[in-house]
Symmetry: C2
Subunit: 203 residues, 2 copies
């Protein structure tokens, strides 16, 4: 494997998304640059433009990828969700904790997955990914509100706003809990989620 000569290996597009996610995780969304991603993928500055028309398209691809990962984790870490005998309060809390941890670690969350500026009028892929990621928490919420969709949406919205706030403030190094780890964030988020779920349940 020569170190910069010739072409890139198999799938540059995927490698670019991967490197974009890594860069965002390290330095935040604002610091994402096509040039730096190209450097990390060991390709020239022009190469990414064969796969993405511009920076925003790369960012969108990263958001879609993040949404998929998040969906997978929801399903992996809450496989009991919705099953008879499971506690929907814990189910919702589990998704919130997973979200907080993911967002804190990766610097990418609903702010990007649902970003108005990122979706064109017909961005089916990102729209679908967004819908899919909301499904597990929404299912948990629905069993708390006895099928009341509006109440469930409010509950999910509040719960994930709290999760998002914990994640972003932690990322910024908020001094209130300077010594906190990602795990602490997840625990705090779960506690808040449980409180909100208990208060919001109508069953």
């Amino acid at each position: 494997m020569p170190k910069r000569a010739g072409y890139h290996h198999g799938d540059l597009k995927a490698a670019l998304v991967e490197n974009a996610l890594a860069l965002i995780a390290e330095r935040g969304v604002a610091a994402l640059s096509v040039a730096e991603v190209a450097r990390r993928a060991q390709v020239s500055g022009g190469a990414p433009y064969r796969h993405f028309p511009n920076r925003q398209a790369l960012l969108r691809a990263a958001a879609v990828d993040a949404a998929h990962t998040l969906t997978t984790r929801f399903e992996a870490e809450c496989p009991w969700s919705g099953k008879p005998g499971s506690d929907p309060v814990n189910d919702l809390a589990a998704t919130a904790a997973v979200y907080a941890k993911f967002t804190a670690e990766n610097g990418i969350g609903f702010d990007l997955i649902f970003a108005a500026e990122l979706r064109g009028q017909d961005d089916q892929e990102l729209t679908d990914a967004g819908r899919a990621v909301m499904d597990p928490p929404l299912r948990a919420a629905l069993s708390l509100t006895d099928g009341d969709a509006k109440a469930a949406l409010t509950l999910v919205s509040r719960t994930f706003a709290a999760a998002h706030g914990h994640a972003t403030l932690w990322r910024g190094g908020l001094y209130l809990d300077r010594a906190a780890t990602v795990e602490d964030i997840a625990v705090e988020t779960a506690a808040v989620a449980r409180t909100l779920a208990t208060a919001g349940r109508t069953t």
Copy 2:
């Protein structure tokens, strides 16, 4: 008043901070540039550097200003706080709602006021401003936890994380509540705060 000739009027330093805040409110922190602020203040690109050594110093000044404004609003909109007969649950909720509204509108909040990267080792001004801004919510929380400082801090931390999440997700145009206004955000935040305060109260 000639339109670009001669000097600036009285207090350029203050005008720069003002314009920096306006720019952040419009386009977010990432888009803050010394050059654009200079343009808006009708001065040359070099002028700001007489007052601030670099971009970060300008941003820090904006954060300090925001903290002062926030402190003032806390005191203005919750003057009854701590007084006998006031409900500390409502007091805390009121501060959270004020915070959410301020942050949603201005794009600047605890993420900057307490940003690790923004404070030098001896940044007394920002440190003091941060302490002052935490005082009103902390006082409300303390009367809920019967003076237990640790519990009060946890309560404030959770409450304001939720407020921050609501504000930032709203700013990003999160599609869940696309039609929401700042007022809706404030109402939602207050509701969450009340739930958390009620659950966290030990008195």
